[in-house]
């Protein structure tokens, strides 16, 4: 059996029963359906963001399968509502740190899919000049401070970004994205204490998809959950249905507003579901088929489309949004495929100003 990726090799169902199937009811602060001030344009914008994220990742998956994209690829298909709902409330000068599953965060924050795709392809026109790839997507010009290959790696960085912004008397905030798996690493607790202590303008967002790599979150996480952990350290938190883009959008709006008012850090716990495997080559076959099936029924795009239709959007309008998104990404892919590789000299750039090796020594 060939090892093709950072993906599981023992896919038999030894742990099948441990995958979280009956979820605890989500705690909403209010029902998103009754929010006043909704208007179709805003809702369609949210849908568009989600559709673009989905289209980007489906295109990238295909390109990876075709052998065009090298390295590991972690997609967030099924989790798009979190990035979309959250980022609708952020300004370009708000800073965001991401994790290994960061395409949605980048697109939400305003990064250009064409340059992202070029980066996934390792091309010179990519955001990182081809030196980062999917796991290190960054666009500092829109406040996206980078994906991260280390679980929880972005947490201290976000704390520091918030501290720096505060020192500079900016009213921008920092946002920190991480998964359920990250809440078991020490820097999570250190970061909560730190942010609460200095009352930093930072929003922590736990994208809880119930799984870390190939192990169910429940089987490696004890106690009362991420919100209780954060609150024990002084960071107030709230749990929302992460597949309900409006719940995310509204909750994030309130949290961002209070953070921007200087009321200190907050945590948003979004319960969602990773529809595919850990990496693009992981079938995640150890999960119970009926759980995955049920999850598909709750997936955020379909679900939001239904709501939008209730609110007067036509299937045609939604289809057009999806098509536009897919066209954009196909074009991005074509551009990336045609783009030149970085010159070898680029490998020797961006190391450090003093003491860098010259190309070629």
């Amino acid at each position: 059996m060939a090892i093709t990726d950072f993906s599981p090799v023992d896919r038999a169902g030894a742990f099948e029963a441990s995958f979280p199937s009956p979820r605890k009811p989500h705690t909403h602060r209010r029902t998103s359906m009754t929010t006043s001030g909704d208007n179709l344009k805003r809702l369609l914008d949210l849908y568009r963001t989600m559709a673009r994220i989905r289209a980007f990742e489906e295109t990238a998956l295909e390109a990876h399968k075709a052998g065009d994209i090298p390295g590991p690829l972690h997609v967030s298909i099924g989790q798009e509502a979190v990035a979309a709902g959250l980022c609708a409330n952020l300004r370009p000068d708000d800073r965001l740190t991401s994790n290994h599953r960061g395409h949605g965060h980048a697109i939400g924050k305003g990064a250009e899919p064409a340059r992202m795709m070029a980066e996934l392809y390792g091309r010179a026109s990519g955001y990182c000049r081809g030196k980062g790839g999917s796991m290190h997507i960054a666009d500092f010009s829109v406040g996206m401070l980078g994906a991260n290959g280390v679980v929880a790696g972005g947490i201290p960085i976000a704390c520091g970004a918030a501290q720096g912004l505060k020192l500079l008397k900016s009213d921008a905030i920092a946002v920190c994205m991480f998964g359920d798996g990250a809440t078991n690493r020490g820097p999570f607790m250190e970061g909560m204490n730190w942010a609460a202590l200095y009352q930093l303008p930072v929003l922590f967002v736990c994208e809880d998809n119930g799984v870390a790599a190939f192990t169910a979150a429940e089987s490696v996480t004890a106690g009362q959950g991420v919100v209780a952990r954060a609150e024990s350290c002084g960071v107030p938190g709230v749990t929302v249905d992460g597949n309900d883009v409006l719940a995310i959008e509204e909750t994030a709006r309130d949290l961002v507003a209070s953070i921007r008012r200087g009321e200190g850090p907050r945590l948003l716990h979004a319960r969602t579901y990773r529809l595919l495997g850990h990496t693009s080559t992981d079938p995640a076959a150890w999960r119970r088929a009926e759980d995955v099936e049920a999850a598909r029924g709750r997936e955020p795009l379909t679900r939001f489309a239904k709501l939008l239709q209730e609110r007067g959007a036509t299937e045609d309008a939604l289809g057009a949004i999806r098509k536009q998104a897919m066209d954009e990404m196909v074009k991005a892919r074509e551009g990336a495929r045609a783009a030149p590789w970085p010159e070898t000299a680029v490998a020797f750039d961006d190391v450090q100003d003093v003491g860098a090796v010259a190309w070629a020594r």
Binding site: I3, P70, G71, H136, A213, V220, P342
Partner: protein, 322 residues
């Protein structure tokens, strides 16, 4: 047993030892599911969840708990998944595991194996490709194992599990699929004994881990051009087989150390410095190293390829020394 891949060889080695000694157990992320690389495939079924412990993403505690469990008499295999993540557990490794026996005047027996698959592999970029094995040769209190093929990896892993010293075991990611021959019963291979890969008088080539196959290939190319070289696989860089290298260099007068890691401050520097000192500089015609430039590992395939050592670069380096 016959032909197996390296990953299967180390799986069988750990399996054999866990069957032999029920104090041996493994902890790390996803190990109950066979491990990221399949190196523990089937272990859960055979040994159960108390000896095959899938852990939270808590590298500090994986490492530190491994030590604690050793201090009460068990013999843990601490699985780090990918080398780079050991950076999250360095206090536990450097300040605790490497020092407890000494600090406590011999009372502690930190019999752990820390497995850290390392090196470049399929464009994994800067945070998943590092080779920093040289750091640990500089760190008192540990053994540093750097196999380059299935049979060595299996034999050295058996030795590591039986060792009372803390052993840092660097699985070479890029060679997981490399085929090799394995005996039915895997015998331990002692630490600090180099393997002579081929012999010749023109120069001494020393290497280990993932760079080894390139060096062998280069040696073949050179042989085709009538240049016969000694090739030594150190197999462990601490302890390392100074005597074997010194003897070879005495014969050839030329030393080239090749590693995938960054050349500056790599273990090649130690080999060169030590051999120069032992032989006396005037008795040598050349003593050189070949490693990566001092840059993080880039993602794009052509860039990654450009900074990797290669058989061609080895050939050129040898010719440059003659």
């Amino acid at each position: 047993m016959g032909a197996v891949t390296l990953v299967e060889a180390v799986r069988l080695a750990a399996l054999q030892e866990m069957r032999r000694d029920n104090r041996v157990w493994v902890l790390g992320e996803d190990v109950a599911r066979g491990g990221l690389w399949g190196q523990y495939k089937g272990f859960l079924d055979e040994f159960g969840p108390e000896r095959v412990v899938s852990t939270p993403i808590s590298e500090s505690t994986i490492m530190g708990a491994g030590l604690g469990a050793a201090l009460v008499g068990t013999r843990p295999i601490i699985e780090m998944r990918i080398f780079d993540f050991v950076m999250c557990a360095m206090d536990e490794l450097v300040n605790q595991i490497a020092k407890v026996r000494y600090m406590f005047g011999g009372q502690a027996k930190p019999a752990v194996v820390v497995r850290m698959p390392h090196g470049m592999w399929r464009n994994s970029a800067a945070q998943h490709s590092q080779m920093l094995e040289a750091w640990f040769a500089h760190l008192p209190g540990v053994v540093v194992v750097t196999p380059s093929n299935a049979a060595d990896a299996a034999g050295l892993l058996v030795q590591a599990i039986r060792s009372d010293d803390p052993v840092l075991f660097f699985d070479p990611k890029d060679l997981w699929q490399a085929p090799g021959e394995l005996a039915d019963e895997i015998a331990p291979i002692p630490f600090g004994k180099a393997r002579t890969v081929r012999t010749g008088d023109a120069a001494t080539l020393v290497s280990w881990s993932a760079a080894m196959p390139l060096v062998e290939k280069a040696a073949e190319t050179l042989a085709g051009e009538g240049i016969a070289v000694d090739v030594l696989d150190l197999r462990t860089i601490w302890p390392w087989d100074e005597d074997a290298v010194a003897a070879s260099v005495k014969k050839t007068g030329r030393l080239l150390v090749v590693h995938e890691a960054v050349e500056v401050g790599g273990f090649g520097a130690e080999v060169v410095a030590r051999i120069v000192d032992r032989a006396g500089p005037t008795n040598l015609k050349a003593a050189k190293r070949l490693g990566a430039p001092r840059i993080p590992i880039p993602f794009a395939p052509p860039l990654e390829a450009a900074v990797r050592v290669s058989a061609e670069k080895v050939v050129a380096a040898v010719k440059g020394m003659l």
